[in-house]
């Protein structure tokens, strides 16, 4: 773990001197200059200590250091921000991670005390675990006497925890002990058999350390021994001896950032978005739950989300520094689907050089030898080659979708392949979402500077903005087709009206599916006036490609807009792709598949800010890979939430690039936006912002094992690992560290995601 400090780059200083007024550095007292950055090393051993790291992350996010001696308080921490496995799951290599911005808070009661500045700080924490009918409490006792620092990266602390369900005893019991001489960690999960993890690291300053990690999980044994000196890190798992450079400036070192801040380029102030607000909900079960309503919908704990209905009253919680928060009643507007609006933007095909997108290819005749039809492919335009390149294929299963490299290397596909389909229809993270490249009639080489790539800004449609009627030519569901497709034993080919499934050919008037909208209930209705919704998650799981929900094809407001060029009695879907605006309806079991908003006392629906779409000119240089010198589109949903940087998969074991379907692969952003006044600048039209990385992982560069041997890096041989004798139970009244029963706190949360509210 390391900390970075502010230093202006030489390039910025040179530019500032040469062009005063053009590149003005943000003030040194601004948030851009002072917001903390942190880095950590990601290694195969990280997997073994992922669970305790989630707990340390939760504890840190509750800010006990800032709430000393302030009594019991409620803290909310977004689970996703503490889950390294979920954020780097190789399934994230599939296209649309629409749900990624929906918060999912874990609620805790915290009590932090310290009698003096020389005494230890004690933090008692009761974390509520409730999900899908399971309820438990994690009791955590933390004692800390020294904060992490450059010379002692772990600080001095001990954390004991017990996860307790309805039965007596701990389902999970562990401790983490950190000091200047290293860390000790032991955890056991009891039940039918016992899973254990034991870690011991002994350090002697920053340049020497060794240790071991042993895991027994579901009958499988994994053991690592490791050691390091000032330059190299060596790790042995019993069969494979791996050597890595510890130097972050080694050209082969990998880095990825999981959180960025965005700042005003002149003032250095954080850029905030009105993307939602916290709410309280008094449920029929008599309990009051904390949640969030925002652009991405409603979030409530699972035991509350099943109770709330359209029209329910929720209280908006507004925080005022040093005062109790104010609460204002709002009425919930909830629907089992949502309508999204897509507004056109363009760039030339040449300007989309090397930018990857995913495209579904139904008929692979002429695509490339060995291609499999009815499958999604990862591709990009290679301007130097004057052709498209196919770099991967998407494999979907019960655990989601993963990108698999093309066997034998990338394949070349000429633009003319897409002519009969009217062009390329795909999805690109780096272009902000939906992509269409019109290529109808193309027969040979194309002039990439005269071919447009159409991509889309997407916005949530609020009820008052819903068009009265909408039309659909391709992938058009009705309530009846949804019910039929997901019925047990169904032989239907798709959840859509059969004639619209994979329809690439023109349709007559009788082939158009019409819808109406119902702004009072925020729903899309089919020709039978039935709501086009489907939320049965188990039925959706039975069709893996729809496990995250169902999305319609493009919907448009005027039938004449889709008239084919050569025949006004025929309607062509590629015409819809070229419209300034089209819509798509989605429905599913997730809160992010569904519309949720609130009405104020005057009956007006509160509209939240959509993510800010910004452009980033990727710097040149090898570390930016194929995106060097290209322009990509990023989305900013709020502080810490900047996404859209393309990713790739790396091995947990070697840190080297692997296909995403490889065992032990992780999906990580492919490059880091540098913390730099010039190279870290993004723009929204004429407005400039500065990006700053906040949380960064470092993956060591792999070296030949002989390098570690020559450097004398030895592995630990006689280390005693922690065991169950060191366990303590903070939930046990007989224990010296018993923290008591969970207190009742009725005040609104005082800390949300590390931000002290009052």
């Amino acid at each position: 773990m390391t900390h970075s400090f502010i230093r202006p780059s030489r390039l910025v200083l040179a530019l500032a001197a040469a062009m005063p007024g053009i590149v003005a550095a943000a003030p040194t007292t601004s948030a851009y200059a002072t917001d903390a950055q942190s880095s950590h090393v990601e290694d195969a051993t990280s997997q073994g200590i992922a669970q305790v790291n989630m707990i340390t992350c939760f504890v840190t996010g509750m800010r006990p250091d800032a709430m000393v001696n302030k009594g019991n308080y409620v803290a909310l921490v977004d689970k996703k921000k503490c889950d390294p496995n979920a954020r780097s799951d190789s399934g994230n290599s599939s296209s649309d991670n629409a749900g990624s911005s929906t918060p999912a808070y874990m609620s805790s009661i915290v009590n932090s005390t310290r009698t003096s500045n020389t005494a230890p700080m004690q933090v008692k924490t009761w974390v509520d675990e409730s999900e899908k009918g399971f309820a438990a409490t994690i009791f955590i006792n933390t004692v800390a006497t020294e904060a992490p620092s450059a010379t002692n990266p772990y600080g001095i602390f001990r954390l004991d925890y017990c996860g307790k369900g309805s039965a007596s005893g701990c389902l999970m019991n562990g401790y983490l002990d950190g000091s200047a001489t290293g860390i000790s960690y032991f955890e056991t999960e009891s039940g039918d058999g016992t899973n254990t993890t034991a870690l011991r690291l002994t350090t002697a300053g920053a340049d020497s350390g060794s240790g071991a990690l042993q895991m027994s999980q579901s009958g499988q044994q994994v053991a690592y021994t490791f050691g390091y000196n000032d330059s190299y890190f060596r790790r042995f798992d019993g069969t494979s001896d791996q050597c890595f450079s510890r130097l972050a400036d080694d050209p082969d070192t990998g880095m990825s950032v999981w959180r960025y801040g965005l700042y005003d380029a002149s003032t250095g102030d954080r850029v905030t978005r009105q993307s939602g607000f916290p709410i309280e909900y008094a449920a029929p079960d008599g309990k009051t739950y904390n949640g969030q309503i925002g652009y991405y919908g409603l979030w409530l704990p699972s035991e509350a989300s099943g109770q709330i209905t359209n029209g329910a009253t929720v209280q908006r919680v507004q925080y005022v520094p040093d005062h109790e928060p104010t609460k204002t009643p709002y009425s919930l507007v909830k629907a089992d689907g949502r309508l999204m609006k897509y507004t056109k933007k363009t760039r030339t095909l040449a300007a989309a050089d090397q930018i990857k997108f995913n495209v579904f290819v139904f008929d692979v005749s002429g695509f490339f030898d060995g291609a499999v039809g009815n499958r999604q492919y990862e591709m990009y335009w290679d301007d130097a080659a004057g052709a498209f390149k196919v770099s991967g294929t998407m494999e979907c299963g019960n655990n989601g979708c993963q990108t698999q490299d093309i066997a034998g290397g990338e394949k070349t596909v000429q633009a003319a392949f897409f002519a009969t389909q009217g062009g390329v229809r795909g999805w690109s993270q780096s272009l902000g979402g939906e992509v269409f490249i019109p290529l109808a009639g193309v027969t040979g080489a194309v002039d990439s500077s005269s071919v447009n790539v159409i991509y889309r800004v997407q916005d949530l449609v609020y009820p008052a903005q819903m068009p009265a009627s909408l039309y659909c030519l391709r992938e058009c569901p009705t309530a009846a087709t949804l019910a039929s497709y997901f019925a047990p034993g169904s032989a239907d080919a798709s959840p859509f009206v059969a004639s619209t499934y994979n329809r690439w050919q023109p349709a007559g008037a009788d082939g158009v599916v019409s819808y109406t909208t119902d702004s009072s209930s925020a729903l899309l209705r089919d020709g039978a006036n039935a709501a086009v919704v489907f939320t049965d998650s188990s039925a959706l799981q039975s069709r893996p490609q729809y496990q995250s929900g169902i999305r319609t094809g493009r919907l448009f407001t005027a039938l004449a807009d889709a008239q084919c060029s050569g025949s006004i009695s025929q309607y062509c879907d590629q015409k819809v792709d070229e419209l300034e605006v089209y819509y798509q309806w989605e429905t599913g079991p997730n809160q992010w598949n569904q519309f949720a908003a609130v009405k104020n006392a005057a009956g007006a629906v509160v509209a939240f800010d959509a993510p800010l779409q910004v452009s980033y000119s990727v710097p040149t240089g090898a570390k930016y890979g194929q995106y060097a010198g290209k322009s990509i589109v990023l989305q900013y949903g709020g502080f810490g939430e900047l996404w859209g940087i393309p990713g790739s998969c790396v091995s947990r074991l070697t840190n080297e690039h692997v296909s995403c379907d490889t065992q032990d692969s992780r999906y990580v952003p492919a490059f880091v936006i540098p913390f730099d006044d010039v190279l870290g600048r993004v723009t929204d039209g004429g407005t400039a912002y500065l990006a700053k990385w906040l949380d960064r992982e470092i993956r060591f560069a792999r070296k030949d094992t002989s390098v570690c041997s020559a450097a004398g890096v030895s592995l630990s041989s006689a280390l005693t690992l922690p065991n169950a004798s060191g366990l303590q139970n903070p939930s046990d009244p007989a224990s010296a560290i018993y923290i008591g029963e969970k207190p009742v706190v009725t005040d609104s949360p005082r800390v949300i995601d590390g931000d002290v509210k009052y």
């Binding site: 090393v41 790291n53 992350c57 889950d83 979920a86 310290r114 500045n117 230890p120 600080g155 000032d230």
Partner: protein, 63 residues
Amino acid sequence: MDRLTLRAAFAAVLFSLALTACGGGSSTSAGTAPISSGGDSTVTVTGVATPNTVSVVTAKNAN
């Protein structure tokens, strides 16, 4: 819910927070939490930051 299911559910909740996202990092800034008093003089007690993430080795030249 039987014990095995309960344990599996517990592990699933912790291990399978099935959404993507961000996080990680090292530590928050050391907090300055005023409060606490003793007699006539007020003493400001400062909190102690705890590590956000631990790893078995650190990087060199990371800045």
